[in-house]
């Protein structure tokens, strides 16, 4: 819609010619300029510029829907109203059915915690027919770190759905629906994404898994903010892909240690704590996550994902926490990994208060990734 050509919009002939003469060919060009800039450029009066802009805007603006018709449409056309059940009952209940379609769901956690295992289980589930709780479609698995193990996938299948996977043809059929891509660089990844967008619908792809997003930039040489900006195109591309195809997109992310100069509060928070201190002598310490680990890829990425599931290990127990979700309260579920994949130890989630839900712990867990941390209990 944004790249609509001015020539296709029914404007009065005179002004359409002027737009063409000044090389403003798409709606995007016209709308990026202010009214006065257009007046100067096109040498026409304000009223003509205004009426041309309002005609262009009317055509380019997206149509509306009432929230009611949106809901009805989703419940009619989509599986379970637009949710993909993960098989983890407590999690599905919290997320109102499962992983939502059309938006990004992020799995973040320290190395070895079970993100890839979860992705394997989800890919398997998506390939199953609908009567077994699947999406009956193909899955594209973008495996950046070469962690995909088809042997493990089939083991999970055999243990969780023996009635299907014991038959060799069925196992072949299901495994045959999962397509693994292994881009070795960011540019290859970009190309693959563009190809995927084109062929998504006709190939009946029902889920996209990217494992992992952070590994794509860790190979590149830029640091900090530049690293985040490198991915900004990809973030909006993947979001738009998810949006128009209405499929669940699961992305994994790594963790990194929190640097000391990490921004954690606003400028007015210092004043607030000072003011309180002087008035009633109570000191309010600024909030600072006491864990040393934070999700990689920065705050722009954190805003872009719709649902964030944090996997962590605390006191030797693994938890999956719903850290960000438009629909779920902040719940944590204990889980463990078995031969049949990931499973919850309790369907009753613990509700966590405050920013605790966002912190990532790595205690009592064997693999430590970052050697800069001072102590790990």
């Amino acid at each position: 819609m944004a790249n609509k050509m001015i020539s296709e919009i029914p404007l009065p002939k005179s002004i359409a010619n002027v737009f063409a003469a000044r090389n403003i060919s798409t709606a995007k060009d016209a709308l990026s300029l202010t009214e006065f800039e257009l007046m100067e450029l096109l040498d026409v009066g304000l009223t003509e510029v205004r009426s041309a802009l309002s005609q262009i805007s009317e055509i380019v603006a997206p149509p509306y829907q009432t929230a009611l018709s949106l809901m009805e449409q989703r419940f009619q056309n989509e599986h379970l109203g637009g949710h993909f059940p993960t098989g983890l009952k407590g999690l599905d209940a919290a997320l109102c059915g499962g992983i939502p379609f059309g938006v990004l769901t992020e799995l973040v956690g320290p190395a070895g915690i079970g993100k890839t295992q979860f992705c394997l289980k989800l890919s398997l589930l998506a390939s199953l027919p609908t009567n077994c709780g699947g999406l009956d479609g193909r899955v594209i698995y973008i495996d950046v770190e070469s962690k995909f193990s088809s042997r493990r996938l089939l083991e999970i299948g055999l243990r969780s759905f023996p009635e299907i996977f014991q038959m060799k043809e069925m196992a072949q059929e299901m495994a045959g629906r999962i397509f693994v891509l292994r881009p070795s660089s960011l540019s290859e990844f970009t190309q693959s994404l563009q190809q995927i967008k084109v062929s998504l619908l006709q190939n009946q792809v029902k889920m996209l898994v990217i494992d992992s997003m952070a590994a794509l930039v860790s190979g590149e040489h830029e640091q900090g903010v530049r690293r985040q900006q490198t991915l900004s195109w990809h973030i909006s591309f993947i979001k738009s892909l998810a949006e128009f195809s209405r499929i669940p997109v699961v992305v994994t992310n790594q963790v990194r240690s929190q640097s000391h100069d990490e921004a954690s509060q606003y400028s007015f928070q210092e004043y607030l704590s000072c003011a309180v201190q002087s008035r009633d002598g109570i000191v309010e310490t600024p909030t600072r996550y006491d864990s040393h680990l934070v999700a990689a890829l920065g705050i722009h990425w954190a805003h872009a994902v719709t649902t964030r599931l944090v996997l962590e290990a605390k006191s030797g127990q693994r938890f999956i926490k719903v850290a960000k979700s438009p629909i779920s309260p902040p719940l944590a579920f204990p889980f463990h990994i078995t031969s049949s994949g990931i499973s919850l130890l309790s369907d009753e989630g613990m509700e966590l208060m405050g920013p605790e839900i966002n912190s990532i712990h790595c205690q009592g867990h064997n693999e430590i990734i970052n050697f800069r941390m001072e102590s790990l209990v």
Binding site: D43, S57, Q265, F268
Partner: protein, 348 residues
């Protein structure tokens, strides 16, 4: 040269100047046919030019409101006070939050609400879109809402939950006052509430600009829209923009249009913003995104943040409210007061 102030094209201006008309007063006493002949413009163009000139030049003869308005189009502060007092606010369903907001979200103003991911911006946006529909009998505006979603974070199931809770609260209220007053019958169903939210999904900044331009026409056709929520205004402007100066111009143009919409149709505009890190005074701090120029454009600015285990809202900027912060919480029923016992509203 006052001719610069007229909204006419550069070539027309050039012709006027070369014909010797450099000030507005020189245009006040000439007829359109003389102007056309002398400046070599067409008759209709000359007529338009004279109309523009007389509008910007006129003294006190044209009064729009009928009271003593010395400058055309201006309103004196006393009349505005009367108007401001009679405006209804949109409640946020949290009494503490409403308190620091002076009753709720103000109509005729643009309010920006920003915070870190997961703090509850979308929740507040959906709550406001539902609360604007509270009927007059319960102290609401009885209006409809426009929800502009740029990130895909609007979940219909959540909107339904909040709508059900809102109706539940209204029935509860009814039961309390039934003895004393005539209770207002609730005929609304949660589905009706959803049906009154106009949902637009935006996929690029061009569509965002186009939609905001189009809103004038849309709202003229749907006069009962009383709030426009944009969730979030930042997303499409954070990437794709190599030319920062262009971004600033486009953003301020957008803010102006939204302000005009708010004033023209007496509705509230709520813009949800994201957070970025800013390097000030030797340390990194959190700040709302889109830069310093953007921070001037909104009338009110509210920052949502974590304080200990509580969610707090802080009035960062407002022409009429004092700086204060209040706790709130996000519950399955929507935004409500914080439940902790040590909550308090802190004034600066």
């Amino acid at each position: 040269m006052e001719i610069w102030r007229l909204p006419i094209s550069a070539s027309q201006r050039g012709k006027l100047i070369s014909a010797g008309y450099t000030t507005l007063s020189s245009l006040s006493s000439i007829s359109s046919s003389d102007l056309a002949r002398e400046s070599k413009v067409s008759e209709s163009e000359a007529l338009d030019i004279l109309k523009f000139a007389s509008h910007s030049h006129s003294g006190g003869s044209e009064m729009s409101s009928g009271n003593c308005s010395i400058f055309e189009g201006a309103q004196n502060a006393w009349d505005m006070l009367h108007e401001e007092e009679s405006l209804v606010h949109i409640t946020t369903s949290s009494a503490d939050l409403d308190n620091i907001l002076g009753g709720g979200i103000h109509c005729k103003e643009v309010t920006e609400i920003g915070g870190v991911p997961g703090i509850g911006k979308t929740q507040l946006g959906i709550q406001i879109a539902v609360n604007v529909q509270i009927p007059h009998g319960f102290g609401g505006l009885g209006g409809k809402a426009i929800y502009i979603d740029t990130e895909g974070s609007f979940m219909v199931e959540r909107a339904l939950q909040i709508a059900e809770a809102c109706i539940g609260d209204m029935s509860e209220y009814n039961r309390f006052i039934r003895k004393d007053f005539q209770a207002c019958e609730i005929r609304m169903q949660p589905k009706d509430i959803l049906g009154n939210i106009f949902y637009f999904r935006i996929c690029s900044y061009t569509e965002q600009i186009a939609l905001i331009n189009y809103l004038d026409k849309f709202i003229s056709e749907h006069k009962d829209v009383k709030v426009v929520v944009v969730d979030s205004v930042t997303f499409h402007f954070r990437q794709d923009f190599d030319d920062m100066a262009l971004r600033t111009r486009v953003l301020s143009g957008m803010a102006l249009k939204l302000m005009k919409l708010a004033k023209k149709f007496s509705l509230a505009v709520v813009l949800l913003n994201q957070v970025t890190t800013k390097h000030t005074e030797g340390s990194f701090q959190l700040a709302l995104a889109l830069g310093d120029s953007w921070s001037h454009t909104c009338t009110n600015r509210i920052v949502l943040y974590w304080n200990g285990n509580e969610r707090y809202a802080y009035i960062d900027k407002s022409p009429s409210l004092r700086s204060a912060s209040a706790a709130y919480s996000v519950t399955p029923r929507g935004i409500r007061n914080s439940s902790s016992s040590c909550k308090r509203i802190r004034m600066m």
